[in-house]
Symmetry: C2
């Protein structure tokens, strides 16, 4: 079996790989403890070693056998793992003629890529640096077999919201006020648990979302309904309202209002029909409480 | 202020440094998820990058400013961070004439060291490898200023117990049975929370220690008293019994029996006197429950 087939079998849709890239960014940001969510907030040592953590985390996720010469052995082949933000992987001389598992990830664009290429002398530039590492040349680049190219990364919405909104959220004094501001400002977006932790910056950050004293109860009067992707019923409500559907481990917040007649985009919650409000609509009623929330 | 003075001020007794070394081993073992506790159980990529993680974790703990040329700037000086299990730090040519913050750690021996030395041409061997990294020569080694030398690391008792005992503990089927076996076999030793997590291998591993259905209730009838270092009263009981005193985040398990007359090593718990049992003593009574446990 080829290395490419090995991955097609182990991770057909790339969900496991995507989770490794997301988790590695989040591990470096260390948001729950530090509140950081952007690359430029990292220490030099952290930035320098993103590729190292990807290397470790890929082996942990897939349990690759150790290579004798390279990082891993996959499907019987020695494979070296390389990361570069711009796909300019630096290939050490000892990797020549071995396979390179090259990755790229961009948290601002929410994309990641993974490709395989053989580091033949023909495919690479001669190493010019002291360490004689060489990058792929034009031929080598043309020969990258992309397993996944610009695949979607679970989004980091603190990089997607306007900077002044993010600053407004983070400038609130208490963790609860920051989480309330997050849900009020990030409607119809997938909000991961890690984002809640980064904004709350406390141990039991999930408390800050709950009905009983969390954002759900604080924002209910203003018509905000916070749906959790951990429950099929809540994912269905999101879909029926025509808004973004949260994945497992995510929330989506939507402003809703009551309607009298069933139509496209209306949802029955405990015997009352609801629809998503447009930004210009005024909330006339508190959001419903969904069973189990 | 010199770099040495900076450390003497920031971490007079080395407690912060010691916690970084302990946490880095534990982070790599990833025991709660994987059950691993030994270096040889790690993946190649994990072993290769222990020094990288130390570098990141030291900067996170102490908040060193980024260096312009080297890893950090400490007390106005460029400082490069190096780790080696044998103090054979490999110094890249760009570090010449800069300070090296060199570390050593040994989980089996429960020790760590940290020293400072300047990578002058006089102090180092010429780099012979492709990457021209050179180690310290005899003169350079003699000039290391050790801030801490073979300081105690919070012990990893799974490396200190006999191998067959550890295998016996880990071969139990359930997390609760493994935790019970741990406390029964590791009396009078400091058992960290991380060790409990590694043995339990489950999310809410602290439940496996509690009175209410955990090891405390399971082992009470056999005379085992599990003391937590998080409480001053329990630390005092450990000290009065003449056994090892648990630190914060640690447990110490001791087998006790009732005594009639107060003497050296006896402790009053809720109106009854207790003493630590010798291995040859037979437990004649269930261990007491300490208030708040």
């Amino acid at each position: 079996m080829s290395v490419i087939n090995w991955f097609r079998h182990a991770d057909p849709d790339g969900a496991r790989l995507a989770s490794v890239f997301r988790a590695t960014f989040d591990q470096l940001y260390d948001g729950q403890r530090t509140g950081r969510y952007r690359w430029d907030q990292l220490y030099k040592t952290e930035k320098t070693h993103f590729g190292t953590l990807i290397e470790i985390n890929l082996q942990r996720e897939f349990g690759f056998e150790d290579g004798l010469l390279m990082d891993y052995k996959i499907a019987g082949e020695e494979v070296d793992c390389k990361y570069s933000a711009t796909a300019q992987w630096m290939l050490p001389p000892e990797s020549i003629n071995h396979l390179i598992l090259g990755s790229v990830a961009n948290d601002a664009k929410s994309t990641w890529s993974l490709g395989i290429v053989r580091a033949t002398p023909e495919n690479r530039n001669a190493g010019m640096n002291r360490d004689q590492k060489g990058s792929l040349n034009a031929l080598g680049k043309s020969r990258i077999r992309w397993l996944f190219k610009d695949s979607p990364l679970r989004p980091n919405i603190l990089l997607q919201l306007p900077v002044n909104i993010v600053e407004g959220i983070l400038s609130q004094r208490s963790g609860q006020a920051r989480v309330n501001a997050l849900f009020r400002n990030a409607t119809n977006m997938r909000i991961t648990r890690n984002i809640v932790a980064t904004v709350a910056q406390q141990e039991d950050y999930m408390k800050r979302v709950r009905n009983n004293g969390g954002a759900r109860s604080a924002l209910r009067e203003e018509g905000y309904l916070i749906l959790s992707g951990d429950y099929a019923a809540q994912r269905r409500v999101a879909g029926d309202l025509g808004c973004v559907v949260p994945d497992v481990g995510e929330f989506v917040c939507v402003r809703v209002g009551p309607v009298d007649l069933a139509k496209e985009g209306s949802v029955d919650i405990n015997g009352q029909l609801w629809r998503a409000l447009a930004p210009s609509d005024i909330a006339t009623s508190a959001a419903p409480v969904i069973d189990g929330q």
